[in-house]
Amino acid sequence: MAAAARFTVVGGGLAGLMTTIKLAEAGHQVDVLSVVPVKRSHSVCAQGGINGAVNTKGEGDHPDIHVMDTLRGGDFLAEQVSVKGMCYAAPGVIYMLDRMGVTFNRTSEGLLDFRRFGGTLHHRTAFAGATTGQQLLYALDEQVRRYEAEGKVTKYEFWEWLGTVKDESGRCIGSVALDLRTMEIRTFPAEAVCLATGGPGIVFGRSTNSIINTGTAAGRAYLEGAIYANGEFIQVHPTSIPGEDKLRLMSESVRGEGGRVWVPRKKADPRSPKDIPESERWYFLEEKYPKYKNLVPRDVATREIFTVCRDLGLGIGGRDGVYLDVTHIPAKTLDAKIKGVMEIYEKFVGDDPRNTPMVIFPGMHYSMGGLYVSFEADPRTLTPAEGSPKNQATNIPGLYAAGEADYAFHGANRLGANSLLSCIYSGMIGGPAMAAYAKNNAQSAAAKSDKYFNDAKKYWDERFADLKKMSGPENPYQIAKELGDVMTENCTVVRYNDRLKKTIEKVRELKDRWKNVNVLDTGNVANRSLSYTNQVWNMLELGEVIATSALLRDESRGAHYKPDFSLPEPKTKDPREDAGWMELWKKRHEKWAKTTMAKHAPEGPQISYEDVPTPVLAPEPRWYA
């Protein structure tokens, strides 16, 4: 093939834009498909920051410690080679963003400032106020706009990816997509396609995600044969603000800056928080985790808050909610460091957190699982080999995945401020991998017979014509809501097998009911309920994968917590000193230190397991006390 080739990147968040930049920078043409203008992608929501072990505070931080924190935080399910590559690239990624004009906070000397985040003891997180995701996304958006102005990138905004175009060998040679404004369906030939479509938050109904994060593209890729890995690992953010339309994130940086989590010691204490004296408050995280205190990793904080509210009945007013208190911090400090977060609470709840403790509760936040992707290790460095076509590749040749849509970087639990990094890093290695793949292919996708493209378009034209005729009694939005309710109730913080089985039954019932939906809208312009009806099916498929993967994993690990299959508490503070416990841990670890691999079949997800290679760091028990 010629030196310059045409690629498609689906999704315009951090991962998609970084992939695009890498391809455009190498001289290629890129079509970017996105359901919203890329500047409105969900990456914009991340508040806290981006990790990189630069050691500017003289704490002896090092990428190796970042690797260890990440692998340990993910309870040794993360893909180790990619994690090492990511942590070593991190300082360079932050510097690159700095050069692109990200308004990172500064020290008095004018250098980049770093803060502390959950799951680490180092100042490792670069941040731009409380809107780091927004600033990072904008920086990449601006670079892509520059390439767009130069004619290297073509943006297709308000376009939805429907599925792949495959040749006779099963190789992905392009995509079919839908213009959400004109409802036109067309194909996009590409040497390789990258799905950087984010997570499946909306499968859980209300979550901290944007409402565009339905997971529909990943769900469809799974239907077409892509393996969906570690679907059960769903991070519930310990501190979100419950709302009618969604859960709003309360960044971990609030605790990083000294926010304290507490409940009244007395059940359903009717007093206002300010009237409750210090001695009658229970700072349960500080008491139980004297070393990390309020900065224990997310799964630990989430479960503790959940236990306090649900098992002990000590939630505020006897309901779901605990205080996140910053009233002891001077308002000036809060405004300097986390003003954006303060404003979100003030705006959407109506109380000023500078004077009144905030009320928060865990909310669905992030999917560690996603499309299975591979990596090729450079044997010398044990990081992804530069320019290997295997990096970020799904099991469908020519189809790549990056960002939250892939499964690789976070294992059983994601550390705060690692997601922005993993999105950018996966794009940085995914773009060159796609280019290398295209270069190695004997025949260019562009030279493939029109037949493949015509057939794929015909399939989707017919499918949408059929969808449009659907006029049963069911409402697709109602089906999605019921899916979300059952997933949130049974598939987030605490998991029991009987409830997971019921969840799968419910999903199957919803699938049956979906066949009787009314598509609600027969318009030919911006017919959102038509596209949504199609998405709901993909969401149901993902819901089934997530619940089935959770049902079959009989252990507790990271964000996946099953009380019926948990190890007992070790007898010593450091579990490694409890020989009996270590025996139990080893046995469990040998059985379950595996990647869950879900493959689609008409009768339901087929689950198998793959060992997690550990060339970088040997697994050990995870403890934070």
Binding site: N105, E142, R145, G243, I316, R319
Partner: protein, 268 residues
Amino acid sequence: MDTAQPSSVSSQTITFRIWRQDGPGGESHYDEFRIPYHKGANVVSCLMEIQRNPVTVQGKKVAPVVWDAACLEEVCGSCAMNINGRVRMACSALIDKLEQPITLEPLKKFPVIRDLTVNRDRMFEALKRVKAWIPVDGTHNLGPGPRQSPKDHATMYVLSTCITCGSCLEACPQVTLDNHFVGAAAISQARLFNMNPTGKLNAEERTRALMGPGGVQDCGKAQNCVKVCPKEIPLTSSIAAMNREVTKLVIKDLFFKDEESKGHSGPG
């Protein structure tokens, strides 16, 4: 979920009057919907409720309302619309603070695509016009950027929070459906990149892009933009700053043509 942030349903109802338009340039009318009141509800949660049961007060089944939304946290910039005649973000419009019936209409300064969703491409085109980016020399590892004082950072940070929602254009008397005034958002972005230590190197290019028709001099100083900006960006200061830059450049062009032709050969 029984949460401490109360979300109880009461016997009250909320009434909406919503602008309906089937397509660009199509016929329009209002549909009226009545839905149960939830404490803590906002305009978006109500639109979602209507989606699940799109039936008007007259009992007529209609297509669900089409509107743009994504993050619901006032940071993606999607859901700007006219609510009771005033432009604002639908996600942060709390029902308790709105007079009923609540009237929802699309932005008027952008072409309607359908119902409440409009085409705001002109805003992104304006960002291209002013070259709102830092032209970095590639994404390879070239070390950190130049130092910045915390003071400069503070100014730039505020400017960098613009969400391209279009509120400033909507409120601006100088912006019309058929003219090409770049609007406050893009002018403010030009200021942001001209302030950046690396962006400064191309400041003149950006300033030049703001000269002439559709540029900063089309601003009529009505100051509406700054009043409606959901991110409280000092847009009028940005316009004033860029106005000064443009004026300086005009003078420079008049008197210093020779200097310009020497190019960038450096001092000496």
